[in-house]
Structure formats: C-alpha cells, structure tokens
C-alpha cells in the first residue's frame, strides 16, 4: 500500500492552523497578528473553557512559558471529556480559525 504525499501547501496550512490553536489560548489576546475572526474564536474558546471546566482552569493549564499549548490542553480535555468530544471541538476550532 502506498500513500500519496500530501501537498506541501496543505501541510503548511495545517501547521499554521495548529499554531493558531495554540496561540488562541495565549494571554496576548489583543495581538495585532490576529484577525478579527481569530480574536472572536479565542474569546469564545476562553468562555467555553470557563463554562466547561471553571474559571481557574486556564491558569492550571499554563505551562512553563505561561501559555496554553495544544500539548498541554488536549490531554486534559481528552481525560475529562473524552477523545471524541475533544476531536469534535478541535475540528470546529480548526475549521474556523
């Protein structure tokens, strides 16, 4: 069985989206590099996190760099909500950023 190589532009796009997922959680919410749409997603995601887990959860998830990354947030979401629910959330976020 062989797989066709994914187009480089697709991988770049995915990488950009994954980076944006991480950046969504960062403190610098008024970052100039963000589009208005991303800003809105970030705000809604933060509000979702507060409703779903609690207002102090964000600080519990921050790593050494004081950022919530994909690596630090996904295992927690997987553990408490299940992989399927987290996948659903990620799919929606990645679609919209």
């Amino acid at each position: 069985m062989c797989f066709e190589a994914a187009p480089a532009s697709g991988l770049d796009d995915l990488q950009t989206r994954l980076n944006q997922w991480s950046h969504l959680w960062t403190q610098e919410s008024e970052s100039a590099s963000r589009t208005e749409a991303q800003q809105l997603v970030a705000e809604r995601l933060a509000s979702w996190m507060e409703r779903c887990f609690g207002q102090r959860m964000q600080s519990s998830l921050r790593g050494k760099e004081n950022q919530i990354s994909l690596a630090s947030s996904t295992p927690v979401f997987n553990a408490f909500l299940g992989r399927r629910a987290t996948r659903e959330l990620s799919r929606r976020v990645l679609q919209d950023i």
Binding site: E50, R51, M57, F80, L81, G82, R83, A85, R92
Partner: protein, 293 residues
C-alpha cells in the same frame, strides 16, 4: 444550570415541598400515618426515578470515552454504583412492601423468611457494594486529577476532617469486631463495611473537593462537586441514623433527618447530568461556529 440538572432539582423541591406538608401533619397530630404514606409512596418513587436517572446518565457518560481511556473505567464504576443502588432500592422496596404500586408480593410471598434476607441483600447491594464501586470510580478520577496536578494540597480543615473520619471508622470497627464472635450472618458482616467504605468515600470526596476548588465553577468541576455533596449528605444521613439509634435525636428531628436522603439521591443524579452537559458543550454551535456569515 443545564436543563436536566434543573429538572432534577425542581423534582427535589417538589418532593420536599410535599414532604413538608406530611411533616407538618406529623408535628400537629403526632401521627405517622401521612408521613408513612409519603415515604412509602412518593419517597420510594423518587428514589427509583433518581437512581434510574443516575444509572442511565452514567452509562451514557461512559459511552463517550473509548475503551482505552481511563475515565471510561471511572464512569463504568459510577454506573455500577448507581445500578447497585437502584437494585438495592428495588430489593428493599419489594421485600419490605414499600412499592407504591401494589401489594403483589403479599400473594407471592414464600414461606421461610425469604423476604427478610432479601431486604438485607438489598441493603448490602445498595450500601457497601454500591459504595465500593463508587470508591473505585472516584479513586480513578483522583489519579487522573493528580496526573494533571489538579489535586491541591490539603488545608488544616481538611486534615482535621480526615482525622475525624479515621477516628470514627476505627471506633466503629472497635465496636463491631467483637460481635463477630456471635456468628453473625454474612449480610450483617458485609453491612459492617458500610462505615469504613463511607469513610473512604469521604476521604476521596475531600481530595476531589480540592481539585474542584482549583478548577472553578465549570460543568466538569460541578460534576465532581455533586459527588462530594452526595457523599457528605450521605454521611450526614448516616450520622443521623446513628444519633437516632443512640437516642440523641427527638422523634421530630429523626423524622426530619429522613429527608436528607432525597438530597443525596438528587446530588448523585446531578453529577452525570453535569458531565453530559460538559460533553454537549463541545458540540454546541455557540462555542466557535457563529464566526461564519
């Protein structure tokens, strides 16, 4: 508050409101007739509805986790605990004739005191067995919370409560163990496990509470907070039974303490309802989707 949780607490409020009428009747007349009917009919029905709801919701929560996810086992154990509580409620209702919809057992009652042992079996299944399942489930949850450094350090108050719980457990063992020389039934000995298991649950509840405080007031935090509330209320009910058996409570206070079990049942049912609401939140369009258009 999620809709399902709201319904559970509305049902509890209605149950308690009706219960207060029966209680007022008892206080005024001094007769147990209306109070007895209330607990026999509405009380049994309420417990059955709440435990069945809890069981169904916990099973649904379990299905949201894949077979290799640790929380699947936790929710499986919680579902087993709910199922055991439901089975215990049914067994006791059948054996004691507390089913509100008829006296069918009177016509099918075999000789030989089967119903006495069935009642005890119901107490064991709904008591220690259910507690053991819940203790395993909460233990699993605690290990997950610890993995993510969500279990905070214990306060002085927590430590004092833990010491109190341990002292109570040891004192109960000290009272019960010498009785084992009287050749008690297996059911009786299994019922002795109730206090140590409840103590274990209280210890777990104290630790879970720490993590809930650390998270905040979200749906996931409230889910585990409801288990804490249910365990604490169960302990209070247990303490009331103990106090009543030792003549420390008046008849009116004893009757009032029976209502505490409705709160525990509602809290147990609310926990998986909160978890389901948290899972549903990831599918809600308001999380991210309104960006389009």
């Amino acid at each position: 508050m999620p809709r399902l949780v709201r319904w559970i607490w509305i049902l509890l409020a209605l149950q308690l409101a009706l219960g207060m009428i029966a209680y007022a009747h008892f206080l005024i007349t001094g007769q147990y007739s209306l109070l007895g009917w209330y607990f026999w009919a509405l009380g049994s029905l309420f417990f059955l509805v709440m435990t069945a709801t809890e069981c169904c919701l916990a099973i649904i929560c379990r299905t949201w986790f894949d077979w290799d996810e640790p929380m699947r086992l936790a929710w499986g154990m919680i579902a087993c605990a709910a199922l055991a509580r439901l089975a215990g409620t049914l067994l006791r209702a059948v054996s004691d004739g507390h089913l509100p919809w008829g006296y069918w057992h009177r016509f099918s009652q075999p000789s030989g005191g089967l119903f006495v042992s069935l009642s005890q079996l119901g107490m064991v299944v709904g008591g220690p067995l259910s507690m053991a399942f819940l203790a395993i489930g909460l233990g699993r949850v605690l290990s997950i919370q610890r993995k993510f450094h969500l279990v905070g350090s214990l306060t002085r108050g927590d430590r004092a409560l833990l010491l109190l719980v341990l002292a109570f457990t040891i004192s109960q063992l000290y009272i019960n163990l010498p009785l084992s020389g009287n050749h008690p039934s297996l059911g009786t000995m299994l019922l002795w496990l109730s206090d140590p298991l409840l103590s274990l649950l209280l210890i777990e509840a104290i630790l879970v509470r720490r993590s809930v405080i650390r998270m905040g007031q979200g749906l996931v935090a409230k889910c585990w907070g409801m288990f804490v509330l249910a365990i604490v209320v169960t302990s209070a009910g247990d303490a009331a039974i103990w106090a009543s058996n030792h003549g420390l409570l008046s008849a009116s206070l004893t009757a009032l303490s029976w209502y505490i079990w409705f709160v525990a049942a509602a809290a147990f049912a609310s926990a998986p309802a909160y978890q389901l609401a948290a899972i549903s939140l990831t599918r809600e369009s308001s999380v991210v989707l309104p960006l389009r258009g």
